[in-house]
Symmetry: C3
């Protein structure tokens, strides 16, 4: 029997993560945690079974959780949830799509999700609580620090360091061996 | 024995579609329909066996067809062919590369081709007679209406609505949850 | 037993190529050739066993080599190494990631590496000593001449001709059926 997992956040990013978890086939999705008003509603067939206030009680039955709220303008909610869930005692496993590729020479830390068609190349390191979104490329020797969202189809080239809390926009590109920090617009080139 | 299929249009896009059909291994390519001057010529080993005027006669022997003319400045020819083929009675199946990924939570309508390395994510919907070209990303909850060409390596982000007849250029990027309509240049960012 | 291969150049690009060779599982990496100062050091676990001056002596034991120096501003070193290695008599095999896709209707010439998630589509031709880097798309009917670096996640569209010695920057995009020559900046659109 697969271990059960709770999904924290029931919006659009949650849809993508459900698809990854189903395909990975490693955890059974027990339900979604969202705002109180949504309890009882369904997200791609999974029920919203509680809100943030219920997390301590739910921990008695379920030990695994994944943060499925997105990160666009701010990652504050994701960071707060990470602390809350860790304090309660939840295990926040790495979720990796079987359609992604993570080099055996790379390292990915807890609570990070690696979405479909993403690629983390040799000698790269990705920190905690990051979204490595669909079709992202993290090239050789790059470092992505904690709490970053590397958005869809963007390219972190070789040796780049992405500082913590960075949002790197969809289809943006970085030059090699530079440092990146803050909010990077979709489609931009960072030199 | 695999069902036979006719390819309507023998240009560059046809080369890519042949590659997808061969790899999908679901249909046997019977031949190509192109302009009268090209009858007897070969396209990647498949013979041009007729022109548009022959479609009614060919329908007696072949029931499946895929539109393999491309769409750059206009989709008029693709739309016209779709109507013609449907009126004759042809079955216009969805063609999906085995190297693409279509979420089981996504929907793709008839006569649409999903090329190599394309990805259609959870809860997305793609209409009829579209080209979802090589390496395209259609993210969660996006809607692509009928007769669109989503060009190579472009990114339709979460919740976007692409109105019918849109050309979305190669490696272009859309912001999330916006509406897109008309002709979008290659490499551009649509906000 | 797998044939042995030498890697010429121990920098960042070498890390990516090691990952590809390990996954391809066709050659056993015997060691790295780098500058004299690095002899004895390790690159992802493989020892630097010599420098350029040792190549003739090493050829007595090893017949296969792959050029693993990168190409950013100039490809001069890669071109010089290609000539040196060929003159000595080395076999410079094509290296293709099992995560890449090369159409059976495409052609790739010697000493070229095709990295993870790259795609070379139907009727395309790639010359000698090229880097087709991670997540690159070479579309149908395109021609990439000798000694080019098609950088990460970039898009060479249908029917394009990339002249020899071209550097095509990361995530850059070309229009269809044009000629490309020289140094193309990352993220740019070539019309």
């Amino acid at each position: 029997m697969k271990p059960k997992i709770l999904l924290i956040g029931g919006g659009g990013h949650c849809h993508s993560v459900i698809d990854v978890i189903e395909l990975e086939d490693k955890y059974e999705i027990e339900g979604i945690i969202d705002i109180k008003e949504n309890i009882g509603k369904k997200v791609l067939g999974y029920e919203v079974i509680g809100c943030d206030d219920d997390l301590e009680a739910l921990f008695k039955s379920y030990k695994n959780a994944v943060i499925t709220v997105g990160q666009l303008k701010s990652n504050m909610l994701r960071v707060k949830l990470f602390t809350t869930l860790k304090n309660i005692g939840f295990n926040l496993p790495i979720i990796v799509s079987p359609l992604a590729y993570v080099s055996k020479h790379a390292f990915v830390d807890e609570a990070t999700v690696v979405m479909h068609h993403a690629l983390i190349n040799a000698n790269a390191k990705v920190g905690k609580n990051c979204i490595i979104n669909t079709k992202v490329l993290i090239e050789h020797d790059a470092i992505v620090e904690d709490n970053c969202h590397i958005s869809t189809a963007s390219v972190i080239n070789g040796g780049v360091v992405v500082k913590e809390n960075t949002f790197f926009g969809s289809n943006a590109t970085s030059k090699q061996y530079i440092e990146i920090d803050g909010f990077i617009k979709a489609g931009s080139l960072v030199k």
